[in-house]
């Protein structure tokens, strides 16, 4: 119900104290809901001796580490109600997150994503250039995250043009045709951060102007970190090569699809009314602004699986709002990549 109400408004205008009230109520509701409907979640809550009927601060509610969604099939709906299963990208099957959606949760994801995207793309659907393969050519029974994201974002565009062939090669002819038809007014470009870099910056020798494009990209910086490419340099390269000035990064994860975070003009991710971020130190104490730590994400959306309150494996930092000139309400933050892999000790594998 609350989602229905909130999607009618701009997700970045609601006051902090109103948001706090909504979250206080909803997190309590969601925790109870998953306790009643997901047996694994219930077992955890019981074992850590968390009492459901006591009122507490948001930060005192238990969070699930994201890896649990890889190792268990966590869901708060019956088998019959499964409408869609999202599977994260990755190689080994044990490393894939499995997210179960019913119709309601799936619809809410789309609605919320729509409400957030409207603030960047406007109300009209624009012609859309997708720097990836066409998901239609893939079996989509269990959508992998990349294809699911493409499908999810496709609804914000029209005249879709997929520019990579099935071998991942860029088809410049297609791009030229697209630009001829739509290049003179605004159009939407979507893709994954590293794939865009690889195909548009590293591999593509052809030059054309993408002046009127609005590029939205996400999916993480791991590969680009190895190449020493940060967000600034990334933007610079796209601007220099294609005159593409409107480049927007988004952050989000399959465990909380829908309530994603869009980068503002000042280069910070901003939480919408649907989500909240907390930064934790190694003892899970909540850190103040401008301190780096583990990222915890709370979303109002997950009802069909217990993913409303998760501990990610990312390192992040909340930035003072005074550092940002944008008018949006919401928390500003930066992501500093994955927590560093620790040296493995003990008597196991020889490498």
């Amino acid at each position: 119900m609350i989602i229905e109400k909130l999607i009618k408004k701009n997700p970045f205008v609601i006051n902090d104290n109103v948001k706090l009230k909504i979250f206080n109520k909803q997190i309590n509701f969601l925790t109870k809901h998953h306790y009643d409907n997901c047996k694994e979640y219930k077992k955890i809550i019981k074992n850590i001796n968390f009492k459901l009927d006591i009122k507490r601060k948001i930060e005192d509610y238990p969070m699930l580490p994201v890896r649990l969604f890889k190792e268990f099939n966590l869901k708060s709906i019956s088998e019959k109600k499964i409408f869609k299963k999202l599977v994260s990208s990755g190689t080994a099957s044990s490393e894939l997150s499995k997210i179960y959606l019913d119709k309601l949760n799936s619809n809410n994801q789309i609605k919320v994503l729509n409400s957030i995207m409207k603030t960047v793309l406007g109300n009209e659907r624009m012609p859309m250039l997708i720097i990836d393969k066409d998901p239609k050519n893939h079996d989509d029974k269990s959508l992998n995250a990349r294809m699911a994201a493409i499908n999810g974002f496709s609804i914000f565009g029209k005249n879709h043009c997929f520019v990579l062939d099935n071998n991942g090669r860029i088809n410049n002819q297609k791009i030229n045709l697209f630009l001829k038809r739509f290049g003179t007014s605004n159009f939407f470009i979507f893709g994954f951060t590293s794939i865009i870099y690889e195909s548009l910056i590293l591999k593509n020798m052809k030059k054309y102007k993408l002046t009127n494009g609005i590029l939205l990209h996400g999916g993480g910086w791991k590969k680009l970190e190895e190449l020493k490419i940060d967000n600034k340099l990334y933007k610079k390269k796209l601007r220099e090569k294609y005159n593409l000035k409107n480049v927007i990064n988004y952050y989000g994860m399959i465990e909380q699809t829908g309530s994603i975070f869009i980068e503002c003009k000042c280069g910070y991710f901003i939480t919408s009314i649907f989500s909240k971020i907390l930064i934790r130190d190694q003892n899970f104490n909540v850190l103040k602004n401008n301190r780096k730590g583990l990222v915890q994400l709370i979303s109002l959306l997950p009802t069909s699986y217990p993913g409303h309150n998760i501990l990610t494996e990312d390192i992040g930092e909340i930035i003072d709002r005074s550092n940002c000139k944008c008018n949006h309400k919401g928390t500003r933050f930066l992501i500093h990549g994955r927590a560093k892999k620790a040296e493995i000790r003990g008597c196991s594998d020889a490498r």
């Binding site: 001796n49 927590a339 003990g346 008597c347």
Partner: protein
């Protein structure tokens, strides 16, 4: 099956020759002694406790003692060429494996992990310096340290086909991978499979400790459990409290341990995420947990109830312990399986442990040591004597 040309090409030493010696022969003992002396001169030794331990371990006195322990009135010679597959995550392990090979009178190929560590490079430097001495020429030409990725199976295949024995330092996955490669019919494999360890503490004796001694004991426990991130086969996961239940003193012990961890241990962020995830996993998979005490993220203590029977698949991570009260030592009988390697103890007499371990038809526990000594290195490991296994007995009648 054996391709000599390839073998020498990979070894990259034309003068390589397989030699066998008597165990504890003079040359090898001197080699270890020189190693120990040179390590002692390393200026930053203080900041590497594992190197200090290694320095003492290879000293003349220690080796003499080891030799005495191995006297059994039998004629022995080394088996020949031993191929050692060493783990990537215990930086000093490979040098002990080499020493076991040398002391048992063998020539050795030591596969060192390609992971880099400060300890590894210090040790290799010293070994190379000593091998250069003219008196060790014969050892230089019968011992090879080699680094290659485990995926490079060609080397493993060749080395296996020439060796008289393999020492495979686990875990299970590695053992199964290496065992796919043929070894000559008379050759042997010594394998160190995945194991785990547990502790037993006598509550009455614990209660009688002064605060200071309690602190010392928790520090020793800390050393056993945390220095290898609780991932070594000899780090404890279960703590059995023996005697009349006394939560107060048990909690005091954990509190002291927590203080030490807080004080001394630095977690990586991934350790914390792993630890928290592991706790949640354990909760989902297992029943029979009574209560979980979280000393922030330094230490998790999980009380298990009386219904628990099998503990083989319950493991802590980065400082997560399961505890159970028992009336007496013999109650842990039912929890001991093949997978159990070390029992660390406090408050028991050796005689008591000896009687318990030998007279109960147990399939597990090859080693009982006082708390604090879990990580000590001994050629008797996982239930067999590596030095004896790597030599052959000659009978003359």
């Amino acid at each position: 099956m054996q391709d000599k040309k390839k073998f020498y090409k990979i070894l990259d030493n034309k003068n390589f020759q397989v030699k066998v010696f008597k165990p504890f022969n003079k040359l090898c003992i001197e080699f270890l002694e020189d190693f120990s002396k040179e390590l002692k001169t390393y200026k930053n030794l203080k900041s590497h406790p594992d190197l200090i331990y290694l320095m003492f371990w290879s000293s003349k006195e220690k080796i003499k003692k080891l030799e005495k322990d191995h006297k059994d009135n039998k004629h022995r010679l080394g088996r020949g060429l031993i191929f050692h597959i060493c783990p990537s995550n215990v930086p000093t392990n490979f040098v002990y494996s080499l020493f076991f090979g040398l002391l048992s009178g063998n020539s050795n190929i030591i596969k060192i992990s390609s992971e880099n560590s400060k300890e590894k490079s210090i040790i290799i430097n010293i070994l190379n310096n000593i091998f250069k001495k003219p008196k060790y020429k014969v050892l230089k030409n019968s011992n090879i340290l080699t680094e290659y990725k485990t995926q490079n199976t060609e080397n493993t295949e060749i080395f296996s086909s020439f060796c008289d024995g393999r020492v495979i330092w686990g875990g299970n996955k590695t053992i199964n991978e290496i065992r796919k490669f043929w070894i000559p019919e008379r050759s042997i494999d010594i394998t160190f499979a995945d194991r785990y360890s547990m502790s037993v503490i006598d509550l009455k004796k614990l209660k009688n400790l002064s605060l200071n001694n309690l602190k010392i004991l928790s520090k020793k426990f800390y050393y056993d459990a945390y220095s290898m991130n609780q991932a070594a086969c000899n780090s404890p996961h279960f703590v059995f409290w023996s005697g009349k239940k006394d939560k107060k003193i048990q909690n005091k012990f954990w509190k002291e341990l927590n203080n030490i961890v807080q004080d001394k241990f630095t977690f990586d962020d991934t350790h914390i995420v792993d630890k928290y995830t592991n706790l949640m996993k354990n909760i989902i998979i297992h029943d029979n947990f009574n209560k979980i005490d979280m000393y922030q993220n330094n230490l998790y203590v999980i009380d298990v109830n009386n219904k628990i029977n099998i503990i083989d698949d319950i493991r802590g991570k980065n400082g997560t312990f399961f505890q159970k009260n028992i009336k007496n030592l013999s109650e842990i009988k039912k929890f001991i399986s093949k997978k159990c390697q070390t029992l660390t103890y406090f408050g028991f007499e050796k005689k008591e442990l000896e009687f318990f371990l030998l007279n109960n038809n147990l399939k597990g526990v090859d080693r009982a040591v006082a708390i604090g000594n879990a990580l000590n290195i001994n050629p008797i490991w996982d239930g067999f004597d590596i030095i004896n296994e790597l030599s052959r007995i000659i009978t003359i009648e």
